[in-house]
């Protein structure tokens, strides 16, 4: 009798612990969600008043109420173009090589170890690499090109890993069918593997770019300045040859740098600017992430091999 009672109590205790853990789990989830909400509300309450048309079309100013983020968002946009132009072809090519071509040898192992390790290198170290190599050894200066290259290297592992995962999910039968029709390896990749893995690759690219647009440390390290009252020269001109690359060499500022510089100002009016700019940046990255999550969701629903 007492044994049965004890057993029953033990079971009851174990079940109570189950319930307690669920409560703990929900508390942890709420903690994460509440932080997210607090962060958002804090920015809205401090910065929403500054968000008007002028804020987007004015340059930075010594007077907080006249300062805007024109140079910052144009700079961020220009840097992202360079980053995408380098990171996407390089990352996708490297991913294709590792999944479709690479033999199992030391060279491949070396490349894989490197990619894994690079994903864990702090972003500021990329900034130091860029400062020593691009700025001082190649003489590119603190330009749009330097920043774009730096961030491209930073997100390269993200793009490579996403490409590899997307390619891996394409079934082998597709490849065999292409080979059976006499396709070469590249024809097989180009006509079959790449189109099927495109949504997955796109998801990885967007996530990579959303990380790049918010990165502050590397571009502060290369020496980007926060006070810039001009835009990079436009890439299209009215004179022959109509296109020019001067904007690549132009000094620039970017959204995260602008926020950082306003955050370091003691005046409260600049804090409002910082939170308004932070709100814009967060909405930008959240939108990019939401697109990526939505893409992945659609991808999972539509593809049934």
């Amino acid at each position: 009798m007492t044994v049965a009672l004890e057993l029953r109590q033990t079971i009851a205790r174990a079940k109570r612990r189950d319930v307690a853990f669920v409560a703990l789990g929900i508390a942890a989830l709420l903690f994460a969600a509440c932080t997210f909400v607090a962060l958002f509300l804090d920015m809205v309450s401090d910065g929403a008043a500054r968000l008007n048309g002028d804020f987007f079309t004015q340059f930075a100013s010594r007077r907080a109420e006249r300062a805007g983020i024109l140079a910052a968002w144009v700079g961020s946009f220009a840097v992202m173009i360079v980053t995408a132009l380098f990171a996407v072809p390089l990352g996708v090519s490297a991913g294709i090589y590792l999944e479709e071509y690479a033999p199992r040898n030391r060279m491949t192992a070396l490349i894989e170890i490197n990619i894994n390790n690079l994903a864990g290198v702090p972003s500021i170290v990329y900034g130091l690499l860029a400062l020593g190599l691009f700025v001082h050894t190649f003489g590119l200066g603190a330009s749009v090109l330097t920043a774009g290259l730096t961030l491209a290297l930073l997100i390269l592992p993200v793009v490579i890993v996403a490409t590899r995962e997307a390619i891996r999910s394409v079934p082998g039968a597709i490849r065999e069918a292409a080979y059976a029709l006499g396709a070469t390896r590249w024809q097989m990749v180009q006509h079959h593997v790449l189109p099927y893995s495109m949504p997955g690759i796109l998801t990885g690219v967007i996530i990579g770019l959303s990380r790049a647009i918010g990165e502050t440390a590397p571009i502060v390290t290369i020496g980007a300045v926060s006070f810039i009252a001009f835009l990079p020269p436009p890439p299209i001109s009215t004179e022959f040859p109509f296109l020019n690359a001067d904007w690549l060499a132009s000094p620039f500022t970017a959204m995260p740098i602008q926020i950082f510089s306003w955050t370091s100002r003691p005046e409260e009016a600049f804090q409002a600017n910082a939170s308004a700019a932070a709100l814009v940046l967060v909405v930008m990255t959240l939108l990019m992430n939401a697109i990526a999550i939505w893409l992945r969701y659609r991808l999972r629903r539509n593809l049934n091999w």
Binding site: A14, A28, N114, I115, L128, G214, T216, T263, A278
Partner: protein
């Protein structure tokens, strides 16, 4: 040509053509070249950090670098004791991990073993969005929201302090730890869980005594990645922990971390090649070696405790 029979045309297409072969080889070489950019980046990082650090250690003795208790590189009587910056890095990282490891682990166990599919569908995107917030925004949040909040409970807390930077950093790392641990737990075969359920175990007993030990390698890797992130995190500490080099392990103090120091110096206008300029590379090398050690430890842990199914 137009007169030739279909057989001849097909034979012509299938014939060995050196140009086609050459094209394939060229493409393969180009793809390999792209993959080698990763190797070149590592080589570049090591080369730049070593080159500038060697120049630095020509002027500053390596013994002083590790034993001096002051970090005043720009004073007329310069001292270069890296422990001053390391103490800030270690303290803020410890606070961050004290938040991120418990919360991240509980979340991972909850999402993998307890939550319904619907809850997971909602929770995972939220965590992903949290992970996608730029760190400068977290820094702003730490300085202008968390610090004033903490001041209500801890009177006399300075405006810049390691505590609020560390706490916010912890929240930032939670999604990394929870998502990697959860992936590891979900990879544990169902049969193991079913075996335990058949023995009369509750969900929590299955989670703690079967799933967590079986997924230990992945969970350990998640912790190591979290540590590596905390040590290398820059903007939160640069904004919220202050820029004053300070040999302290007290969370209520302000102190500069290695990363915050690099940002502070790089933001200013130091001439290329000066000792002040070189210090950021020596600090960067320390940081790189530290994170490399954690990455290798994670790799070793994963191999040592890997359970094969």
């Amino acid at each position: 040509m137009a007169a030739s029979s279909p057989e001849v045309q097909i034979a012509g297409r299938l014939a060995y053509r050196p140009s086609r072969h050459l094209r394939e080889r060229f493409i393969e070489a180009a793809l390999l070249g792209a993959a080698l950019v990763a190797v070149a980046t590592t080589v570049g990082i090591v080369f730049i950090l070593l080159r500038e650090s060697i120049a630095f250690f020509r002027e500053v003795s390596i013994v002083d670098f590790f034993t001096d208790s002051q970090w005043t590189p720009l004073f007329s009587d310069p001292h270069f004791g890296i422990w001053v910056l390391l103490s800030g890095t270690l303290t803020s990282s410890a606070i961050a991990l004290a938040v991120a490891i418990p919360v991240g682990t509980v979340l991972a166990i909850y999402l993998s073993e307890f939550a319904k599919a619907r809850t997971r569908e909602i929770a995972k995107p939220i965590l992903e969005l949290l992970a996608g917030i730029p760190t400068i925004v977290f820094g702003y949040f730490a300085l202008f929201f968390v610090t004033p909040l903490l001041k209500n409970f801890i009177p006399g807390l300075p405006g810049f302090n390691l505590l609020s930077a560390g706490l916010v950093m912890g929240v930032m790392i939670v999604p990394y730890i929870s998502s990697i641990s959860e992936d590891a737990m979900r990879a544990v075969p169902m049969a193991l869980r079913e075996g335990a359920y058949a023995m009369g175990a509750t969900r929590l007993q299955v989670a703690l005594h079967v799933v967590v030990p079986a997924a230990f390698s992945g969970i350990a890797a998640a912790y190591i990645l979290g540590i590596s992130r905390a040590v290398g995190e820059t903007m939160i500490v640069a904004v919220a922990a202050g820029n004053q080099p300070n040999l302290t392990f007290n969370p209520m103090d302000q102190a500069a971390t290695i990363t915050a120091y690099i940002v502070q110096v790089a933001k200013g206008d130091l001439p290329h090649g000066s000792t002040g300029y070189l210090t950021i590379f020596a600090a960067g090398l320390t940081l790189f070696v530290l994170t490399l050690m954690f990455n290798l430890l994670g790799y070793w842990l994963r191999r040592r405790y890997r359970e094969e199914y």
